[in-house]
């Protein structure tokens, strides 16, 4: 597995040539984890989509797993924020997880026994093995999110790009997710997570606070200061134990 997962130099990301987030210099090694933290519209999802090859960079250089963006799609897993088809498609949970293996041995190759083992392990890890043959549309939002996360795990990717992975998860779901991320990192996978959950971000090696630009970048203990959080979210937050306390409201005028 490549030792560097992401290398970005003076990267600018956005839509149709219009910058949404600029000034990104990032290096993520295999087995490392980075959290992108910011409010809605700060550019987190745009950056993730660019890393996934869904959007071309507006400017700057970007390397994914030692190759150009989009070239390493087989080794990248992407979890999007929205799944509008979840309550419509006639698919069982296991069908959704199996999709992760589509391109692993050629785009039209048949599923192998090893694919089935990986799919079963991934569903077990996210505690949805018992829902394998349940139609996706009959599952709750939180259960569906666990299935989507199992799909990500089943890719056995070198780089995981997760947009709001814990959205809708209950406490056992979050615990399963955290255990799965530990497993993925031990395996050598690098993880980039977009979140506005500061507590979740503090479990990562590194945090990028974003608000249309990089507000701060570094280990969570150093980066997540009340001043930086105020600049990122517009409200003051202080970490007290495992909780965050709102301490100050930011006023522009």
């Amino acid at each position: 597995m490549n030792s560097t997962a992401v290398v970005a130099r003076r990267l600018v990301v956005g839509y149709d040539g219009r910058a949404v987030l600029s000034g990104i210099d990032a290096y993520l090694k295999a087995g490392g984890s980075t959290a992108l933290v910011g409010s809605n519209g700060s550019g987190k999802s745009t950056l993730l989509k660019t890393l996934a090859g869904l959007l071309p960079p507006v400017d700057g250089a970007l390397e994914i797993l030692g190759g150009k963006v989009g070239e390493m799609s087989q080794k990248v897993a992407y979890l999007s924020q929205f799944h509008p088809s979840g309550f419509v498609l006639p698919l069982c949970a296991i069908d959704v997880v199996r999709m992760a293996r589509y391109d692993q041995r050629g785009r039209w190759a048949k599923r192998s026994p090893s694919d089935d083992i990986i799919v079963a392990e991934s569903m077990e890890m996210m505690k949805v093995a018992n829902l394998a043959n349940t139609p996706l549309r009959d599952l709750s939002g939180g259960q569906q999110q666990r299935v989507y996360l199992a799909q990500v795990l089943a890719r056995r990717a070198g780089l995981l790009l997760l947009d709001e992975p814990t959205a809708g998860l209950d406490a056992p779901g979050r615990a399963a997710y955290m255990d799965a991320m530990v497993f993925e990192r031990q395996r050598g996978a690098a993880i980039v997570t977009a979140t506005h959950d500061v507590a979740e971000a503090s479990t990562c090696d590194r945090v990028l606070l974003v608000a249309g630009r990089i507000v701060a970048d570094g280990p969570p203990a150093i980066v997540m200061t009340p001043e930086n959080l105020l600049e990122t979210f517009g409200i003051g937050l202080t970490k007290v134990g495992d909780h965050l306390v709102v301490t100050e409201h930011h006023h522009d005028h």
Binding site: L54, S73, Y78, S85, M99
Partner: protein, 275 residues
């Protein structure tokens, strides 16, 4: 129940044509329903009208005119969305109504077309010949081959378009291919069921499948079964009650959809009560 089909050649050809249309529409309709492309399907079905009208006036094959109409519709939608901030829905709606109006202008300005209008809109189920059946068979084979070859990217398109690209498939390419398959189905099937009613055969059987199936494959099977049953019952009703054949078939398919909806609602209520 089977005598009309045993004793009349035109009923046998109509049954075969209906089954071929049902099979083609079941495959394509499944993607139309799952990908939420009902509006573009409807627009294509109506947008072929000026092409057909123009082809009739010029003495060209009507299928060629329908194909030109479909290409104008697809290219026009692409052009409007690329050159403006307007949504797909607005672009489709504008072209849909524009082409339909153009078709009506053609028809109203030509006395020779007035008699053909009913055939264009409602098809010629009972007038299909061997050539029509051959064309419909080739279309079915082509649609089946494309759908089989593209099964995975088509499923991913329905599930989450971002996944298509992140798994290395060309999302835009497969989107266009899906649109092409829908357009080809409309163009080939309109002669049998008509440009108004082909949309019903795309939606109603696939809708039954979406209500009753747990998986895409079984959804297509339900759609095939519904389409074939609708063809048989519709043609039978048409024969005995002198109803328009295309309308009878589509009406039967829509009736089966509502029966399926009632069945699913009752089953859901029963499950809720027992839980």
């Amino acid at each position: 129940m089977i005598d009309p089909f045993l004793n009349n050649g035109f009923m046998q050809r109509a049954l075969v044509a209906g089954i071929l249309v049902s099979l083609t529409c079941a495959i394509v309709g499944t993607y139309v329903v799952l990908r939420g492309m009902a509006f573009i399907g409807d627009a294509l079905a109506h947008g072929v009208l000026p092409g057909v009208g123009m082809a009739t006036i010029l003495g060209l094959p009507t299928m060629l005119g329908a194909a030109v109409g479909a290409v104008v519709m697809i290219a026009g939608v692409g052009l409007i969305t690329a050159r403006s901030k307007l949504s797909n829905d607005t672009a489709i709606g504008l072209l849909f109504i524009g082409l339909l109006a153009l078709g009506v202008v053609f028809v109203s300005s030509s006395d020779s077309l007035t008699g053909d209008l009913e055939a264009i809109l409602f098809g010629q189920f009972l007038g299909v010949d061997t050539t029509d059946l051959l064309v419909q068979t080739l279309a079915l084979l082509a649609v089946s081959a494309i759908s089989l070859f593209s099964a995975r990217p088509f499923l991913l398109l329905c599930f989450d378009i971002d996944l298509v690209s992140t798994m290395g498939y060309k999302a835009q390419w497969y989107q266009r291919l899906m649109l092409f398959v829908i357009a080809a189905t409309v163009v080939v099937s309109f002669q049998t069921v008509g440009s108004l009613l082909v949309f019903g055969m795309l939606l109603a059987p696939a809708g039954v499948g979406a209500l009753l199936a747990k998986r895409i494959g079984s959804m297509m099977m339900w759609a095939v079964g519904t389409g074939v049953l609708s063809t048989y019952l519709g043609l039978l009703a048409s024969y005995h009650f002198s109803w328009a054949a295309g309308a009878s078939v589509v009406l039967t398919a829509v009736a089966i959809f509502f029966l399926a909806l009632i069945f699913v609602s009752i089953r859901k209520s029963a499950r809720s009560a027992s839980a």
